[in-house]
Symmetry: C2
C-alpha cells in the first residue's frame, strides 16, 4: 500500500514542531501534550531520528531534542528512509534483498516499476522539511521519470 506509517507521521510532527522552535530544547512530553501522539512511541521515533543524526538529544532533567540541521536541508526522503527503512516499490526492487528475483530477465515491468519508485523517491528527496511548513508551492518536478530510471541519485550513503 502506498502510505506512510505512523512512525513517519509522528516523526514529521515532531520535526516540524522542533523546527518552529529552532534552537530550543523540546521534550517528547511537550510534543505529546500538544498532539494526540502516544508519547512513548514518539520517544521511540525521536530516538531513531537521533540515531540518524537528524536531531540532537539532551539527556537529563531539562533534556529534550533540537533539530540537528536547518529545516531547509532536511528532506522528507531522509526522514522516510530513516523511519521506514529502505523504500521500494516492490520487494524485488529493494537493493539489499540481493535476490536477483527470478523473473528479472523476463519480467516486463521491473525497470518501469523502478522508474516509478525513482519518481516517488525524487518527489520526497526534493521536498524539504521547510517546504512542508510553507504555505506556497512545495516543489516543481520536471523530468522526474527519465529513461535512465535514476531519478534519485543518492539516498543515504
Amino acid at each position: 500500500m502506498i502510505k506512510l506509517t505512523k512512525r513517519t507521521e509522528y516523526g514529521l510532527i515532531a520535526l516540524v514542531h522542533l523546527a518552529e522552535r529552532q534552537g530550543q530544547v523540546v521534550s517528547a512530553r511537550e510534543i505529546g501534550e500538544q498532539y494526540p501522539v502516544p508519547r512513548r512511541l514518539l520517544a521511540e521515533v525521536l530516538k531513531d531520528l537521533q540515531h540518524g543524526g537528524l536531531v540532537n538529544s539532551t539527556r537529563g532533567a531539562h533534556g529534550g531534542y533540537t533539530l540537528a540541521a536547518p529545516a531547509e536541508s532536511i528532506s522528507l526522503g531522509k526522514v522516510v528512509a530513516m523511519l521506514e527503512g529502505a523504500p521500494s516499490v516492490t520487494d524485488c526492487t529493494a537493493p539489499e534483498t540481493a535476490q536477483p528475483c527470478e523473473v528479472h530477465a523476463t519480467c516486463p515491468i521491473r525497470s518501469p516499476l523502478d522508474r516509478i519508485r525513482g519518481g516517488i523517491w525524487n518527489l520526497m528527496e526534493q521536498t524539504s522539511l521547510q517546504s512542508l511548513m510553507d504555505p506556497g508551492p512545495v516543489v516543481s518536478l520536471r523530468g522526474s521519470l527519465t529513461p535512465s530510471g535514476k531519478a534519485a541519485p543518492e539516498l543515504e550513503s
Copy 2:
C-alpha cells in the same frame, strides 16, 4: 512503507502481458507459466481487475482475459487504486475513514502530507500502462505539488 503490494505487481505483469497480445484471449494459466506468479493468486487479481472494468473475461473452455481498454488509457493509478484500495499517505488522509482525525486543527503536517500524497498519486495517474512498456521517458511532471494540494483531481468515481 512506500511500496506496492504483490497484487499490484502481479496485476501489472498480467496487464502488460495482455497488452502485448491485444485482442487475444489469454488465460491465467498461460501467464502463470511464463512468470513465477502463483496462478491461483493471479486469478484472484485478474478477477478484481475484471470487477473494476480494466479487463474483460471470457469463461468456459477457451476462456481468459483481454484488455478492456487501450493500454494508453489505463493509468497506473487506476490499477493501484483497484488492487490496493484507496491510497493514502497516512491513515487520517483516507477519505472513507471519516474519523476527522482529532489532530486535524492542530496537526501541522496534515495538509503538506496531503500534497505529497497528491504528488505521488499524480505521478501514477499520469503514467499509462503503455508508457510502462515504452523504453523512453515515461512522464514529465511539473508543478505536481501545487498549493491547492489537489494534484489528483479525480480518482475513481
